[in-house]
């Protein structure tokens, strides 16, 4: 799966519009993921996962920052996320299926916060982008 020039442009524009609120989108996506897919909570036994949790907000900020970084280096996502890829392979070892779940919740977060942003074309590009990010983060698993 390859990101076309149009996809890259859509992704950059989308994150441009999300702008400084990316942190909230990240936290929102995580909150939604924990609600819709309770099994994902197994990776966070050390977190307070109650509503408004500062830990979830903090982690959402990290997730968002990584997505922004990938969007800013959309021509070389693997390079941009290389360290994160190592971390996931060596330490975190989140099962690959979970990246799709977070991706779905990030798209829903965008859809609820900025519905007009998520045209079918942008939806397609963002979905591809999130898949690519998941692929990079799991690339060194074995």
């Amino acid at each position: 799966m390859v990101l076309s020039a149009a996809d890259k442009s859509n992704v950059k524009a989308a994150f441009g519009k999300i702008g400084g609120q990316a942190d909230e989108y990240g936290a929102d996506a995580l909150e939604r993921m924990f609600a819709a897919y309770p099994q994902t909570k197994t990776y966070f036994p050390h977190f307070d996962l109650s509503k408004g949790s500062a830990q979830v907000k903090g982690h959402g900020k990290k997730v968002a920052a990584a997505l922004v970084e990938a969007a800013n280096h959309v021509d070389d996502i693997a390079g941009a996320l290389s360290k994160l890829s190592d971390l996931h392979a060596q330490k975190l070892r989140v099962d690959p299926v979970n990246f799709k779940l977070l991706g779905q919740c990030f798209l829903v977060a965008v859809a609820t916060r900025n519905p007009s942003l998520l045209t079918p074309e942008v939806h397609a590009s963002l979905d591809k982008f999130l898949c690519a990010v998941g692929t990079v983060l799991t690339a060194k698993y074995r």
Binding site: V108, R113, P115
Partner: protein
Amino acid sequence: MVHWSAEEKQLITSVWAKLSVEECGAEALARLLIVYPWTQRFFSNFGNLSSPTAIIGNPKVRAHGKKVLTSFGEAIKNLDNLKGTYSKLSELHCDKLHVDPENFRLLGDILVIVLATHLAKDFTPACQATWQKLVGVVAHALAHKYH
């Protein structure tokens, strides 16, 4: 049998009441064909699917989308017997249409996103969780008669 809490049933029916089945159905199917283009394999007789604009404007896509989501409405009326409700449709999708059940999961996720764009902030995490559960259960029911 799937258990639905009173809260879940409320979240399902209240969202459903706000929807235009025709609009949301058309949009969900169009997005499925756009976001996951390989799903077009089932619709070779639908005419022009060459671009997002063509897909969105395609009258067969709109009509079929409406049909699919109308059927979803039946599920909502029969939350306590989804396997029974979808028994014949399941056989049809296996024996005649030859649709990989993975496609039901893809469409379900797309439907959730369409609902999210329409309901915006009203589509709370609890609401999404309930609807992700519903689309998952519908997908499972539609796959149940596969052999």
